[in-house]
């Protein structure tokens, strides 16, 4: 029931959008979301787009792990003792 999946918006027709998940296409309702553009990624849940996925935030989340990389380089000598 919590099943929501990132899907790419391919085309928009009024309150509906054709979205794609790895090549499978679905006509989703935009009744619950405004300002959707072609090329956006949305979260698809039981037939509705419920939110846009922010590319910047996704990159930020993954970038945090670069910080961890440095942290690990510092700790490494201690762990190897």
């Amino acid at each position: 029931m919590c099943l929501s999946i990132p899907a790419k918006v391919l085309s928009i027709n009024e309150n509906q959008a054709i979205v794609s998940v790895g090549g499978t296409e679905y006509e989703a309702s935009l009744q619950l979301l405004d300002d959707v553009k072609i090329g956006d990624y949305i979260l698809l849940h039981t037939g509705f787009a419920i939110q846009k996925i922010s590319e910047e935030e996704a990159i930020e989340t993954l970038k945090v792990f670069d910080e961890f990389e440095d942290l690990n380089e510092q700790i490494k000598p201690e762990l190897e003792e």
Binding site: M1, C2, L3, S4, I5, P6, K8, V21, G22, S29, Q31, L32, L33, D34, Y41, L43, H45, T46, G47, F48, I50, Q51, I53, S54, E55, E57, A58, E60, T61, L62, V64, F65, F68, E69, L71, N72, I75
Partner: protein, 359 residues
């Protein structure tokens, strides 16, 4: 696939595990309250990767699991009414009621159809104008707005043969109730997609009143492990707060439009949760001005008296007090082919996940 594969990256996962191991000193219990998290944690084998002092416990996050037997009995009673078509999400059809399941009713000739979306149910209603279509509304704040949107569409399209039987619930009362009951939790892996809709303010009372942190988590392994890291950090530093890990989809105010649609069609009411009993203002009922779409009103039926199964401890499992393998019925009388309790039926149920992935 974008926004999925990057968050399953093995190198990042290993980095996160290293860092969790570095900072985690004390025994810590983290609870997830979203069926999607229960499923993902077991599917990726995350418990096998975490150090022993970190315990992941499943809470009442599976909407099918917390749904009362009475709701199933009501649905079963409706399915037996002439010219009624029951439309439902897949998981619900095998959930045991007092004496039957929707699947059993289907095998006896009842018209029970599994749908992907309430929009499919509306289509069935339009194509079968002489029949009464009932949609079973189950789920938390992620699924309630789609149900609400469906009802609004039914009103706009002037459908006379469509109604919803609601078992929708909201999450925060359950999270507070668990701690009130004395369940020992050091941190909540907070529901990701509920929060997409609601925003984050609904969780503020948890750290404020209970000293328990909340990290709103995505559903990929990288998300879950980063959330574990953040919660462990909060616990080790005793700095409890609401944080968003799932930043690419969750913002503090949530999806206002979806909230408005949900509040337009539903109103809060007291509701019964398996394992927690009745929680005030924790359920969503169809609002008065949409009562022509409320199946409770539109199709009166007699519902049989609820009978609970002896030995089934779904209630305690839903509170994280016991693990599935501590239930006397687990794996023997109650298994994924022959489920006794709701926790075993639903793919998001703790017992089902445990049975399929862990025993």
């Amino acid at each position: 696939m974008k926004y999925i594969d990057e968050f399953r990256n093995k190198d990042i996962v290993n980095l996160l595990l290293k860092n969790i191991n570095n900072i985690s000193k004390k025994d810590v219990v983290l609870m997830e309250v979203c069926g999607g998290h229960t499923w993902a944690i077991q599917k990726f084998g995350i418990p096998s990767l975490l150090p022993e002092n970190i315990s992941l416990v499943s809470g009442p996050g599976c909407p099918v699991c917390v749904t009362s037997k009475k709701f199933i009995d009501h649905a079963v009673a409706l399915s037996r009414v002439k010219d009624v078509i029951i439309t439902t999400y897949g998981d619900l059809i095998r959930v045991p009621g007092s004496t039957s399941t929707l699947n059993e009713e289907k095998s006896k000739g009842a018209d029970v159809r599994i749908v992907y979306s309430i929009l499919d149910a509306l289509k069935i209603a339009k194509e079968n104008s002489t029949k009464k279509v009932v949609f079973l509304g189950v789920g938390f704040e992620t699924t309630a707005p789609p149900s609400a949107a469906g009802i609004i569409n039914a009103k706009v399209q002037n459908l006379k043969n469509f109604s919803l039987l609601s078992s929708h619930k909201i999450m925060p009362p359950a999270m507070g109730a668990l701690i009130d009951e004395g369940v020992a939790i050091n941190g909540y892996i907070a529901p990701g997609h509920v929060s997409v809709i609601t925003g984050t303010e609904i969780y503020e009372p948890i750290p404020r009143n209970y000293g328990v942190g909340c990290v709103i988590s995505g559903f990929e392994p990288v998300d879950i492990l980063q959330s574990v890291y953040m919660l462990v950090k909060q616990f080790e530093t005793q700095d409890f707060k609401v944080e968003i890990q799932y930043k690419r989809a969750v913002n503090p105010e949530g999806n206002i439009k979806a909230q408005q649609v949900m509040n337009e069609v539903f109103s809060l009411r007291d509701d019964w949760w398996r394992g927690l009993g009745t929680l005030p203002l924790s359920g969503l009922g169809v609002a008065e001005n949409y009562s022509e779409f409320d199946a409770e009103i539109m199709i009166p039926v007699e519902v049989e008296e609820t009978k609970e199964e002896k030995g089934c401890i779904c209630g305690e499992i839903l509170k994280g007090l016991k693990k599935p393998n501590q239930c006397k019925l687990f794996g023997t009388v109650c298994n994924s082919s022959n489920p006794v309790g709701a926790c075993m039926v639903s793919h998001e149920g703790a017992c089902n996940a445990y049975y399929r992935f862990n025993r």
